[in-house]
Amino acid sequence: MNFDPRFSGRKFASVGTRPVRPDGVDKVTGRARYGADFNMAGQLVGRVLRSPHAHAIIKKIDTSKAEKLSGVKAVITAKDLPDLTDGDAGMYDVLDNCMARTKALYDGHAVAAVAAVDARTARQALKLIEVDYEVLPHVTDVDEAMQHHAPLINEATFTEGLEEKPVKPSNVTKRSQFGHGDVHQGFGHADHIIERSFKTEQTHQGYIEPHACVASVNLDGTAELWVCTQGHFVYRQHCAQLLGLEASKLRVTSSEIGGGFGGKTHVWAEPVALALSRKAGRPVKLVMTRDEVFRASGPTSATSIDVKIGARKDGTITAAEATLRYTSGPYAGTWAEIGAMTAFACYKLDNVKTVGYEVLVNRPKTAAYRAPSAPMAAFAVESAIDELAKEIGIDPVEFRIKNAAQEGTRSSYGPVYGPIGIGPTLEAAKNHPHMKAPLKANQGRGMACGFWFNFGGQTCVDLNIGMDGSVSLAVGTVDVGGSRASLSLVAAEELGIDYSQLKAIVADTSSLGYNDMTDGSRGTFSSSMATISAARNAIKILRDRAAQMWDVPVDDVIWEKGHAIAKGEKYGNLSPLSLKEIAAQSGKTGGPIAGHSELVADGAGVSFATHICDIEVDPQTGATRVIRYTVVQDAGKAVHPTYVEGQYQGGAAQGIGWALNEEYIYGKDGRLQNPGFLDYRIPVCSDLPMIDTQILEIPNPNHPYGVRGVGETSIVPPLAAIANAVSNAAGVRMTHIPMSPPRILAAIEAERKG
């Protein structure tokens, strides 16, 4: 159907207001059902046996004793998940990650699973499974993994993207490169050059809800899966492919999701639960423990990044270069590539070059984490930018404003930008009272910018009008942070009705067409576009029905403020028909009234943010305190401003945790030492100040309301903003994230000693 996505600059009645979310009451009364809150009759408890070794050949698995234990209904290994991936290397990696086939590739890698009548029996059964491992040398550090003598994680890995195919295998799966101009020449024109190396440790999305699902495979080849996921349609495809099921016979229902941030974008335990259910002939509930969540799901890349930036005395950047090495776990990824694309995206550069290396290590398979790969690159670049400004003697905000990308700038990753918000966020930051607030002793202020692409993608929406005039909206993008509220606002806006007349739900995979996942900040952008389209389709029908009721030509009927209006003087005596009045007669005028939409939402506008923060450093202990934090970000159009603020604040808080304390700590044995919330230290309430937000609205020309994605960009600047603030507070440049107290104190002591 023809749908014009162009920005129209209309005035809004509903969009931009802040009503209570439709799923709110369920969530404050404990009634909302998350992954682990659902049960099926006769369900078994599934549990997974995981490798205690970072790298080991699985020589033999003996499950016979476990199978004999009373109450055990199924035991599975990789044999029960045969390879049906048909040459799809990416899916094969997903399969191998779900259940190790020949080698355990990280501490926590699944090697077998059981389904039993209760948790205690399942735990006992795991202890009875005998796995014969041949332990291999392992490597967890990104730089060490690139060394020639490093243990090889996959002997068939030959680096892609090199001019000549390498003769020897290595742990580098791919090299990628972006940029334009001639950096060599550019550096020749520079009066000042900063060159630095940075490291960031691996972090986890840290969602509070562990992965959980209930799987039920029937004898007739149909199956059901209840699961917490960011994309139930994608889970359906993956599970169907890995289990050999027909996609349409696998009905996947997305539960309420207790946080994902990218970590619930691909399958982990779901194919295992389905395989257990198939073998046991009963439903199986599989819930990860927190320890399993850390050891075997999630994390983002650990990185090592070199940055070189040169500028003239007047503050014009002449060249910028970065080499980025990102871990992808034991399977190939494209994380360094994304880092290389985003690194210099905020700036207008004549000469820029970025090179990315994807590095295999014995750590869990890297998953997306909110603007994946961008925060680490921004940390390195924005730290160097700050240092360069200082060396030239220009204010860091002015320096960034002078070099900021704008409409028409060729981005460092290639395309030329349309209208963008980096300049405005910088100007807003410059004029923010925060910038002028006084600082006390041992306090420092830092700022940094961030960029994220934002996605669109496949989207399907159903809008049904009940005979009482109430409207149900069924969407297929999982609601991770309030999108049912924003989409209801959009539908109310289009239909011209009150928000309270609508109820939005997330439909299961059998009730709606395919939807991409809620990732890449696409949820509200894409689904609002489909909602607008569905509403407009419904309005066409409403007009037609009104025309029937009046017995006038449909072309004479327009839709305004929730009413059909017969246009023209000859209809002067026809009073407008409300949606409710038209709906009441729908049974007689052609049946139910609905609007449907399926589309690929393209043109997600890129997003920029600038953050300011004040940090106090205790020079005797290296302890830090966040004193004040301000987020300025372009939303295009904030549909539900409160939830937009929430995204800004949440991303900032995650970035603060990453910057200061969160990290995966591996022992010399390659085992994760802190797989719990006690020692994987995400920020607690008393760690943070209020997080101020300023929403800018620079309309996205490719969305009817000007909406851009808002979910991810807010995690990009904090690492650098805090590093710059710490540097200003303590007088030392921090190049290793997280800036934990021992690292800060060591840096201060080193500086003291000279």
């Binding site: 349309g418 993608g457 696409r522 690929v600």
Partner: protein, 81 residues
């Protein structure tokens, strides 16, 4: 005829060219012709790549027309959180 800019890794597969000229009216034709002219690109196109037309990124829209004189960039497909 449109001029298409390839990102680093893709350029190497197209014989070291960073820009190639293709006679194509839409994304589908662009992909087909690129695969014909540069067979090494085919597996990448199969895996999925994004096309930037005048700065707007398209991922799955074969039918999107390529306006005369538009700036066309091929980009890797991205993952998000």
């Amino acid at each position: 005829m449109v001029e298409v800019t390839l990102w680093g890794a893709l350029g190497q597969l197209a014989g070291g060219r960073s820009k190639v000229e293709v006679e194509a009216k839409d994304i589908r034709e662009l992909f087909r012709k690129l695969a014909e002219q540069y067979p090494a690109l085919e597996p990448w196109i199969e895996k999925g790549i994004a096309v930037s037309i005048d700065g707007v990124i398209y991922r799955d829209t074969w039918g999107k027309r390529l306006p005369e004189g538009a700036e066309i960039f091929l980009l890797p497909r991205l993952a998000g959180g």
